[in-house]
């Protein structure tokens, strides 16, 4: 499957990578080169194999609904790029359209 410039721009947007136009052609070539090596996977007979869901042993270990919150050795302000009144600040969303993107 060949990756096009449109594809690269689209996935760069999905991944918020901010690629400038001049980088796109080289990336298209690189990606196609790398992905070509993956084509061999299509020919493998995988009937009867369950996809690996994590190589960890057994079922999930759970935790009790109590205990102290995990401590931090320094306050949020020490690593946050911008905080005010306890809120993390980020630039305003460009359109109200972004408002309800979340579930």
């Amino acid at each position: 499957m060949a990756v096009t410039e449109h594809d690269v721009r689209h996935i760069a947007t999905l991944a918020r990578l901010g690629l400038t136009a001049d980088r796109v052609p080289a990336l298209v070539a690189e990606l196609n080169g790398i992905l070509a090596h993956m084509d061999v996977l299509a020919k493998v007979d995988t009937s009867g194999v369950d996809p690996v869901h994590g190589v960890g042993a057994g079922g999930m270990r759970l935790r009790a609904d109590d205990g102290e919150p995990y401590p931090m050795t320094r306050p949020r302000e020490s690593f946050a790029p911008e905080m005010r009144d306890g809120f993390f600040l980020v630039p305003r969303l460009a359109t109200h359209a972004d408002e309800e993107e979340g579930a």
Partner: protein, 491 residues
Amino acid sequence: MTAPDATPRRWAGRYELVVGLEVHVQLRTRTKAFCNCSTDFGAPPNANTCPVCLGLPGTLPVLNYEAVVLAVRTALALGADVHDVSVFARKNYFYPDMPKGYQISQFDRPLATGGRVPIGETTDGAPLDIALTRVHMEDDAGKSVHDRFAGATAVDLNRAGTPLIEIVSEPDLRSAAEAGAYLRSLKQIVEYVGASDASMEEGSLRVDANVSARPIGETKLGTKTEIKNVNSFSAVERAIEWEFDRQCGVLAGGGRVAQQTMLWDGNRGECRPARSKEDSHDYRYFPEPDLPPLILTPEWIEARRAELPELPAARRTRLREQFGLTIADVEVLTATPEIADYFESVARVHGDARVAANWVRRDVLKAVNETGRPIAEFQLQVRPADLAALLDMTRDGVVSGSAASTIFTLMVRTGEAPRRIAEREGLLQVSDDAPLRAWVDEVFAEHPAEAERYMAGDRKLQGPLVGFVMKKSGGSADPKKVNALLAERMR
């Protein structure tokens, strides 16, 4: 409960409304889904955060056992099939209130599938259920506030990581009223299970409605839009109707409905599109590598089923059969498990369920609604045993019916026992002839003209004369006896 009304009139006969609902419910755990931060409401911004729910580099999720318990109980109460093995998955997207850049949810192997929400009965008494597709677990996002600081969005991650369940219905709802009934029933079941406060106003229950329209007789589903930003059940109903109307207008004009997300604007009473073109969401779901599959044994699942309380439908049926109450009665009395418990306590102590039902429906709920506080608080003032005692006193003629109302009001205000109040306020019913005759004599003496006309045969004056006697007695006279004594005087 009977089945609610069908489609709005304008398009009736031409188009059919199809609605599916996705409901998110916050589970009432002490700590978050994947870390020990408190889920308490009202903390200062970001006070309830830690490296895990902040998504700091190097942190990992560890699932809350109680969240699984509440989720499974809810799924069982909804009649869903709880799976032995379910898998968590990452739902990837960028948003400031989503600190890891993905939500931990479930995708193709959810906690439970199937199930139903009862919304009423058909005309011949058979239950009317709306089928569910699935129930799955996920973690909540934080909150973004857009209007507090100019040019910036303020992010509070206190809510991020709160455990949620998502309940997805089949697209089987056919009217806004059915949708409202569905939500009320679902909320009630969740409250009975004790899994959540399930309050839309407080945000512990959120609704997204998928709405589409199709020509009557068409079996294929039309293009759906998703409505968000509704914050009450009635808003859900109004939004669904508005959007259906809009879609029918589009279709009737030969157009096609565009698939998009709509936001309900309660002030304007309309839906507006949430986004123009934009990349449609590609969440790139894949199994969460930080969490092995969740494995629940059949024995463990059955133990959760055994922990379920009596659910609303079953409770309604039992109260009707056991206490001989009407459908209307039980609907009100089982609105919440606490109200039903209160009623049953009073009924059992007093013995006459009909009387208890009337008092709870009328007087108790009125008082509770006036205060706006839950019945659990009301119960501290007016204990079920005390209300039962008041009903006993009324039945036994110790106080009259009107005196009982007065006493009840005072019980609500003071929390005192009814007999004490009756004694102190002089409301104990007086039934002995001697004092009653004395009051009748006094009233006749004070109102000679009316007394004379009454004795001459003017029955219309009986009521007012009884009223005078009741007033003179401070409400303690036995009205039946008074009537009888007055009648004696008539020539």
